[in-house]
Amino acid sequence: MTPRPVLSVDFGTTKTYFSKCPAEDPSPVSVDFGDGRDGLLTAILYRDGKDPLIGQTALDEFGEATTGERAGLRLVTNFKPEIALSGEARTAATDYLAAVLAEAGRQRLDVDPSVRQVLFGVPSEADDGYRAALKRVAEAAGYGTPEFVDEPKGALLYHLKQREISVDQALGGVLVVDFGGGTCDFALLEGGRVTHSWGDMLLGGRLFDDLFHQWLLDQNPGLEEDLKARGASYFVGTYLCREAKEFFSRSQARDRTTAVSKVFPRYGRFTDLTWEEFVERGTHYSPSRLIRQAFGAGAGNTLSDGERDLFLWFRKSLTEGLRSKGIANERITIVILSGGSSLWPFVPDILKEELPHLEDQAILRSDRPYAVISMGISVLPALKRKFARVRDALREELPVFIDEEIRPLLESRCALVEDRIVAWSRATIFQQGVGPVLERFRAKGGSLSSLRKELKKQVTLREADLRKTIGDALPLLLSGLRGEARELLAEWFSAHGIALPKRDFPLSADPAQRSDTILSTRAIGVEGMFDALQTVLGGLLTAVTAVLSGGAGTALIASGPVGFVLGGVLGASIAYLLARYGKEKARTFVEDLNLPPAVAGLLIDEGRIAALQEELSTNLRAHLEERLAPTRSQLEGHIQNLVLDEMNALNEINSF
């Protein structure tokens, strides 16, 4: 069966949001029912002899109606939480959802559930009874048999799709705050699943509408009676005050030092609303009679009168939930703010204060936080398919990526370190140490054994410096490497439309911070470097000794311009020694001979010195290369694991 496009429904207490998404392409759109706002108010107005009205129109029409008109009207709101318990609520929900489809048809909006996979959001606390009731309601309203997705998961999926959360982050501890018009819900997701949820059924944006309504009446004495007389109380109290509230909130989000004024022609004015006064009023808020009546209409929830601190209320909903569920702050790595009321600037402030371990960019909020849940739900099937495709592609491309991108990068990084150490060794050990000793030997002469000692001393003398140089050069391997490798990975991942894992590279050059030792100076094997140096120097001396004691030596000495006489003596002596004591003794004897400068200069000529320097460099490099090879493959392994982890994470998302 070819996958169908998706219709998702975030069926809310106050508002219901609809989104559509193609089957294969994770690009959801929110359905606009013509008022330019996302979503439809969850309200139905039954009218005698006429079709019911839904959405904002239903509420407004009822609010505006005269007492006479009201006789033929029945407004039902807040039915969503009751569908499992009350037949009346189920009927209202069914009629409402059916009327939405009818309205969509009238507006020629293409939302036809019969050709779509239909997904309904369910609150994380929802039990089987609620799910069963919602299934019945959706079927009866013409949506076919819906599938369910946890609402907070929708928020997570939305930001995942936006690439604001990486796949590995999505599997960590994500706190979703849904602060809407009527309620405030919290959920902790771990591994993409809701592990804890809690909320407050009374704390919502409409309390702030009420605050602004009271503020307006306080600033405009006599307005209340005036509005009542003109039948405009409802219009001003709900609509205009909510608009003023949102306007104030948006302006304060930009700048909390400016005062806001707003004139309603004929209905009074807001003058110089400041953040300070808003905070003062919110701290000492008492619900008006009007809003307490509105709450009374919803079943079960009553708002008592008396003063309360709205900010503290929000803060406590958060902290007491965390405490009672035993959730340590550190379990939370990402916070997603959803719901329209999370646009209040105090919301991220309070979260930052209560979760101080989070960096600013760990708190996410979209521009339209009220719409993210339905959009996120609708994107689920397409996102899963996409991630499955990406996972397969990553698996296939991984060897090539390592071969063509990572390996050359590591090679050039290692070469940089090798160059640095070899260059230092040439400049210091050779040019300042070994070189001058050899020159002095050429100039002054001496015994080979003392030359051997002297050369060894020159190398040992610089051991500490060499260690330091290596210690300084090693970070070169990592500096930049982390950034460059991340860049390569990011490029590769983004070519597949996914964000780079936020999980950091497990690489650090600071030995104190590392548990493994892939980059300790030990890895280089300083002792081995000395061995390499000594071997080369030893080789030089052996060769020189051989020249002195053997065939080629005789020729050299015989033909040498200065050493002719000496050659005769030496040649005879060595031949004698060889015959008398054997090779070993003869060598010791030769090494201890105090050679005159002429002979020394001949034995160790410029060419030999130059060759020695080259040989030293080559040997050092070979040693370093050999020693860095495991480090290199370990780094390669790290990067490979990062990709494998990502593939696993993508797999896990598939079980969402």
Binding site: T57, E64, G231, F235
Partner: protein, 41 residues
């Protein structure tokens, strides 16, 4: 009317309305719609 004003509550053809907010127009196109309410007796 409908393309220039949003109704507050239900407004049906023939209803008398008050204009609560004028639409904002730029070169004959609606930048933001106005708002009308039905006059109730």
């Amino acid at each position: 009317m409908a393309d220039r004003y949003t109704p507050f509550g239900l407004v049906e053809p023939g209803d008398r309305v008050t204009v609560e907010r004028e639409p904002v127009l730029r070169d004959e196109t609606v930048v933001s719609k106005g708002l009308v309410r039905r006059v109730r007796s």
